[in-house]
Symmetry: C2
Subunit: 374 residues, 2 copies
């Protein structure tokens, strides 16, 4: 087994194709990772596939099904090390071996401890030429949430923030409709659709009477598969049991998880609502415990769309990995409401440091992404 | 005289060159505009020049000096309509005519009422082929300040703002060093150097003991001409006569203008300091009157680098044309100080609306430019 340092242009082209294929699973594969596979023989693609839905065929299986017997002697390009374990489907490393593939190039080794090099070893032990490390950063970017969960047991949390360019989210009197443009709000729908869960606080649900669902009609793109739109699980922090079943949130028949310190059993909840008790921290739900629980529930990507207090607390506890700021071309002035609440900082050494990633124009607004410097 | 709607690729290439040349005057031509000129004969550049310093040769004169007698029969590309009036130098339209140029393509008609088509008319009346409107928006961008002053009698005001991504400029305790990176602060030096004046309030001078000069060693580029670095005039709003001659500001022997309601004659000021009295508005210097005065003093571009109160007041009075935001990848929290102070807004209809222009990465920070929607 070797990490080849030089790959050919053709190798790169086929791996780029495998990455494109993998992305087609971005709305559906959870809790599994997005994976793509391309089978090549005599410099021609003879089969390709991607993982679409947990419990169904992995990328390699789908590509092999197309190639059939022709797979004998082919090279397989996969965006992730083929799996070595029996899950809901048999291990792909065995499948590639049986099909007679002679070379496997993986973009990266799987950090899932159940795999972690074992897949490549099965192939290598069978005399198959094995290499990895091609377009690795792109391949890793496909599955930041899956890898974080595998490595740390926690989901990858992306915090959405929307404000005027002077960092204000609402006027002093509470008015905030609308700060950002319709295009920015559509873009949010896309992030929601790609997430396993949307996390917010009871305040946001109560103040906005928010449904927090994904609206297909508002997505700025068509779905890449025939599968129906999957609704991310709506996860609400409700330390004081302030939610009631009559809220608009519960009009949408789709999973809701409510985290609380102690469940109030006097209320009747719809069947799709689940309460989870977690330990308390200063009278509120312990957010670290919430994230650990979400990791156990196999959530890879959590989209945090909350008010300044919960967003601030999550940030302070180092539970946010990435920020997506939508900034509108408006100035609202000093007494409008601020983006994020922290306990008072007394030294510039204590500011929360980020690293800017991308800046894009979305309608009239800017979308700025930044990674938390951990 | 005609505005040709189709120009050739060659025309565009030569005009682009003329625009590049014009930019070389950006640190020096004030109060004159930046202008570039390229003379072409038989598809070869036979002379080119740009305006470097008020009182010295205009772009056309400098280009004609290089071409000499060869200018006979040439085409002139100029970024601005050649002047028609006797100022400190004779009119360029006459110069081009005398040199025997057969065609003149101007990027745009001069909006200076002293010219306003008269230059092109002189040429056209002399039988010279005349066209205009090539790369006009780029040519206009060279001189937004000059044109605003010509058209409205007021300078073009660019307001600099530096904050964390959540719109904060200092901690509650006043600490602010440093929010932005050294690269962003160098970039500010470049904007200062291109400006005719730096405008700020007494507060900023007193709190930071700021010198507000341009430091050649901190400029992120070399100067485009052999001329020494011109210091923009430092203009301070000091309604209450709080400045004193012992401040660091006055260590730099370079022009200062102090706007006040009533000059305090008890203090001795260095020779380069000038006080100007203007009318008052609610106990403070009338900012509209300040800008009118700066227009009369022939300032084209004013760089506003002030605190949240003066920046807010200038914005409120619709005296700012453009904003340059430097946003650092930091979160500082709700009780840190805000970017801009306005009287409380009670409706989202009343936010100050901008249009985003560009977003660039400057070191670790972002520089976002936006135009005020007037």
């Amino acid at each position: 087994m070797q990490s080849q340092t030089t790959f050919t242009e053709h190798d790169e082209m086929y791996m780029a194709r495998a990455i494109e294929l993998a992305k087609k699973g971005r709305f559906t594969t959870t809790p599994n990772p997005n994976v793509g596979c391309v089978l090549v023989k005599n410099n021609q693609i003879i089969g390709e596939g991607f993982h679409q839905l947990a419990g169904q065929g992995h990328a390699e299986v789908n590509a092999l099904a197309i190639a059939g017997k022709n797979a004998q002697g082919a090279t397989a390009y996969v965006t992730l090390e083929p799996c070595s374990h029996y899950g809901r489907t048999p291990p792909c490393a065995e499948g590639l071996k049986k099909a007679g593939v002679v070379k496997v190039i993986a973009a990266m080794v799987d950090t899932n401890p159940q795999v972690a090099g074992k897949g490549l070893k099965i192939l290598s032990d069978a005399g198959i030429d094995v290499a990895y490390g091609l377009l690795e950063s792109q391949a890793r970017a496909l599955n930041v949430g899956f890898f974080k969960r595998m490595e740390q047991g926690l989901p990858y949390v992306t915090c959405k923030m929307a404000a005027s360019i002077d960092g204000k989210t609402a006027l002093k009197n509470g008015q905030s409709k609308w700060i950002t443009s319709p295009a920015a709000r559509q873009d949010v729908q896309l992030y929601r659709a790609k997430s396993c869960a949307i996390l917010t606080g009871a305040d946001t649900v109560l103040v906005d009477d928010a449904k927090l669902n994904v609206r297909l009609s508002e997505l700025p793109c068509t779905l890449p598969t025939d599968l129906p739109l999957r609704q991310p699980v709506r996860v609400i922090i409700d330390s004081q049991n302030r939610l009631t079943p009559d809220l608009a949130l519960f009009e949408i028949q789709s999973d809701v998880i409510i985290f609380t310190i102690k469940v109030d059993k006097s209320l009747q909840w719809p069947h799709f609502v689940k309460h989870i008790e977690v330990s308390e921290s200063n009278g509120k739900v312990d957010l670290q415990a919430v994230l650990e629980k979400l990791g156990q529930l196999q959530f890879n990507n959590v989209w945090l769309e909350a008010g300044a207090t919960l967003a601030g607390k999550m940030t302070e506890l180092n539970l946010v990995d990435e920020f997506v700021f939508y900034l509108a071309p408006k100035l609202m002035g000093h007494d409008a409401k601020s983006l994020v609440n922290f306990p008072e900082l007394t030294s510039m050494q204590n500011t929360v440091d980020l690293t800017f990633n991308e800046c894009a124009r979305i309608g009239d607004d800017l979308r700025i992404t930044a990674l938390k410097t951990h």
